[in-house]
Symmetry: C2
Subunit: 117 residues, 2 copies
């Protein structure tokens, strides 16, 4: 990610989740969950106004994914995507013990990169 | 974290970072970095308007920490905390290859918990 990220205002969608054993798998989310996650990552890149995403997590623990979008319309478009909606339903049925979603408008941001100041 | 998180509006401060080898350590951030991280976690809890935090990451990869605050004043108070400022300086000098900070106002949030609907 570039130093300073994106030019505000933009949106950050913070998704924190704890997966079920079925989804957590042995090797980085193998199986249907992993395939769907990859497919969604590919698909969100096609949304006009999608800026990028960050992900962190370890098996058995909390996962955090942050998606960055230019405006609320871009988030609405992603939210209403047909494949995404099907994936969400399957997520609630099979893959998530719990999750929380925060939709937030970024007012300021800055970054640091070693050797760049 | 409770289903639905906190009552909007509130703030989410998203901190994504890649640590140096010195900070990444062998066993979950041992040494000075780990001690400082623990101390900061304890200290931020004393800020009026601090609501909670989430953290995810794995050694060698991206870490994401999200702090939740009631309002911008609470963030300003945390930002100007003397120990926190010293920790930030040391972070730039020793512990971070790179980081990005996004300060964002949460407009809506919701959650899901298995067995709670």
């Amino acid at each position: 990610m570039p130093v300073g990220a994106y030019e505000p205002p933009y949106y950050a969608v913070v998704f924190t989740s704890v997966k079920t054993e079925a989804a957590d798998g042995g090797n980085g989310g193998a199986g249907a969950y992993g395939e769907t996650a990859e497919r969604m990552e590919e698909r969100v890149k096609g949304i006009p106004g999608f800026l990028g995403m960050d992900h962190a997590g370890s098996p058995g623990g909390l996962s955090i994914t942050v998606g960055y979008f230019r405006d609320a319309d871009a988030i609405d478009e992603w939210r209403s995507d047909v494949e995404h909606r099907a994936a969400q339903r399957r997520g609630r049925a099979e893959w998530y013990e719990s999750y929380t979603l925060h939709v937030a408008k970024v007012e300021r941001s800055h970054g640091f990169e070693r050797g760049h100041g």
